[in-house]
């Protein structure tokens, strides 16, 4: 295997990891505020179809990516209104959001089936972006860099900013946060909107970068992997990025091994590897001193009603 192939493989890993990382970062912030939103897949689809439609209409994929954040955040606003305003069950509402997103994206996307758009390609000059080696650093879609920068930003926000600490307080003990005067519902609403925007951006990665097209269920269940990644990373942004890239690597290497004719094992077994890896890591984390139970925000999934 020569270096150019290795570069190509690593590029594929980054492309596989980026949408997972984007969506999972959003969900991480949502969960840190004490809300479980299982609607990631639906919001990703809404983002994907918006990004594609706007990109086709305006000819600008960048505008498409921005629009994807707006509509997906709007969809998460419905979730926020139901779970926060009406204290509905978060699991059921999140699942409903996924079903809603799948349906509405198929409906809205019907006129866009069978056409293609400009890829949201590299931003650096071609000399760097197309170089067989330098493209490893300069040849990615801007969303790849944004995902990594957002990891840093989310880490700093949760760890060092005042607002981040308030958000974590709300997620750990909503009653205590409420009693000292923090607006629990408002904080959670903002977190949910952020999660929606990130899921939308993740969706746009599929319809603008991986395969510049729209087709129903384009994301094919990646939203669920993003949710699993949050648990996998025990709610830490750094681990999340590592997890997303690890996951991307497992998916890519599985296919590379098959393409190289190396796979001696049944294809079904190879395809189950990413999931087996997830279970193995989860077991390892749970068995450790700091178990998942302790890492999870204490109020995760509990509706908040202000006591009088």
């Amino acid at each position: 295997m020569n270096a150019a192939i290795l570069v190509s493989i690593l590029m594929t890993v980054a492309a596989a990891a980026t949408p997972l990382l984007l969506a999972a970062l959003g969900e991480l912030v949502v969960e840190k505020s004490g809300v479980l939103n299982l609607g990631v897949e639906g919001m990703m689809l809404i983002g994907a179809v918006t990004a594609f439609a706007v990109s086709v209409t305006t000819g600008s994929p960048a505008l498409g990516a921005i629009a994807s954040m707006v509509t997906a955040a709007a969809a998460s606003g419905i979730f926020a209104a139901l779970t926060l305003g009406l204290a509905s069950n978060q699991v059921a509402t999140g699942l409903a959001l996924t079903i809603f997103g799948t349906g509405i994206s198929a409906l809205a996307g019907a006129p866009y089936v069978g056409i293609t758009t400009t890829r949201l390609g590299p931003i650096f000059p071609d000399a760097l972006a197309d170089d067989p080696y330098w493209r490893l650093i300069f040849g990615h879609s801007p969303l790849v860099y944004i995902a990594l920068l957002m990891t840093l930003a989310v880490w700093w926000f949760l760890k060092h900013s005042r607002s981040g600490l308030i958000l974590r307080a709300v997620g750990e003990s909503d009653d205590a946060a409420h009693s000292i005067g923090y607006p629990v519902l408002k904080v959670r609403a903002l977190a949910i909107l952020f999660g929606g925007a990130m899921a939308g951006l993740a969706g746009s990665f599929y319809s603008l970068v991986v395969t510049p097209m729209w087709a129903e269920r384009l994301t094919a269940g990646r939203g669920w992997i993003a949710i699993a990644l949050v648990v996998f990373a025990s709610w830490r942004p750094g681990r999340l990025a590592a997890g997303a890239y690890l996951f991307g690597a497992v998916i890519t290497l599985e296919l590379q091994a098959k393409a190289a004719g190396l796979s001696a094992l049944a294809p079904e077994f190879m395809s189950s590897l990413p999931y087996l890896a997830t279970i193995a890591v989860l077991v390892m984390i749970s068995a450790g001193r700091r178990s998942i139970k302790n890492a999870a925000p204490a109020c995760l999934g509990k509706p908040f009603r202000a006591s009088a």
Binding site: G114, R119, A215, R217, A220, I251, L255, Q256, P267
Partner: protein, 366 residues
Amino acid sequence: MFLTSRRRMIAGALSLAAASALAMPASAQEAFSKPKDQVKAAFVYVGPVGDYGYSFAHDQGRKYLEEKLGDKVKTTFVENVAEGPDTERVLRQLAQDGNDIIFSTSFGFMNPTVKVAKEFPNVAFDHATGYKKNDTNMGIYNSRFYQGRAVLGTIAAMMSKTGKAGYVASFPIPEVVMGIDAFTLAARKVNPDFQVQVVWVNSWYDPAKEADATKALLDQGADVITQHTDSPAPLQVAEERGAVAFGQAWDMSSFAPNAHMTAIVDHWGPYYVEEVQALLDGKWAPRDIWGGMKEDILEMAPFNPKMPDDVKAAAQKVIDETKAGTYEIFTGPIKDQNGELKVKDGEKIPDGDLLKLDWYVEGVKS
């Protein structure tokens, strides 16, 4: 039983008749031998109609049916039906909703269709690409996709510089194995050393994974990509990387104007019209249809103008001879992956064996 009035007696008799009709349905022959004014037809798809591939092609067939028969047919469809227990639920629901005929369009729907067909003897069932039927109310239909694969294989071997094609495949079922074998046999007629590397993505439809598999195959030295999955994703990657590729189930050239050489186009419409017309006429009976290019169930999309003339001519020759019946790709001598002679010189693999094909020909790496 004391019946006090004539009206109640009539009502009782009617309900008795209704009950017996439910318990002991009139014989299937009778249900299908009465001419009808309108037929309700239902379609069950494994993917979304917007996949622009396999399910899309079936849905084009449904639209063709509506267009041809107008008011005489009313159609419905259910998309994204998982292969397994969910299939039964959907089929049963459609049968209970009063559909006269149900087309279940994916291989994995076979056993559920057999089961539900038994429960509803008055409903006609047609199952695509499987091998189980019955004599009363379940027919099967299929397309000789492999004839198209042979055309693709011919083009692939003539246009490849590396002598290696990448095959993005879904599941190792006979239909897919048949396609891989036909593609490889045709390619090796042109270039006896041609290699076909298969990557299984274990899904009919997962654009991101299909794209990643294509990238992997191109990284590993393939310069022609063909697929037996349903999204245009592999084509887009091939376009980006300057490789040669083919559409699946439908003309996908809009996704890859340079890479797309041709496509196997599924043309189910005329068959659907035949089946529904037979019901309207009261002449329906389960059939076993396995048509190909000759029967117009299968067509090739127009060749890419960029394709060299000698390749066009060779591909057209395969098409013409297939239609004439003189080009049969599964004619011996055929060796398997290990170099063992499986089919003797001049012998043909019979249809029954093709439908259960589970071995790869020489040149396939999977």
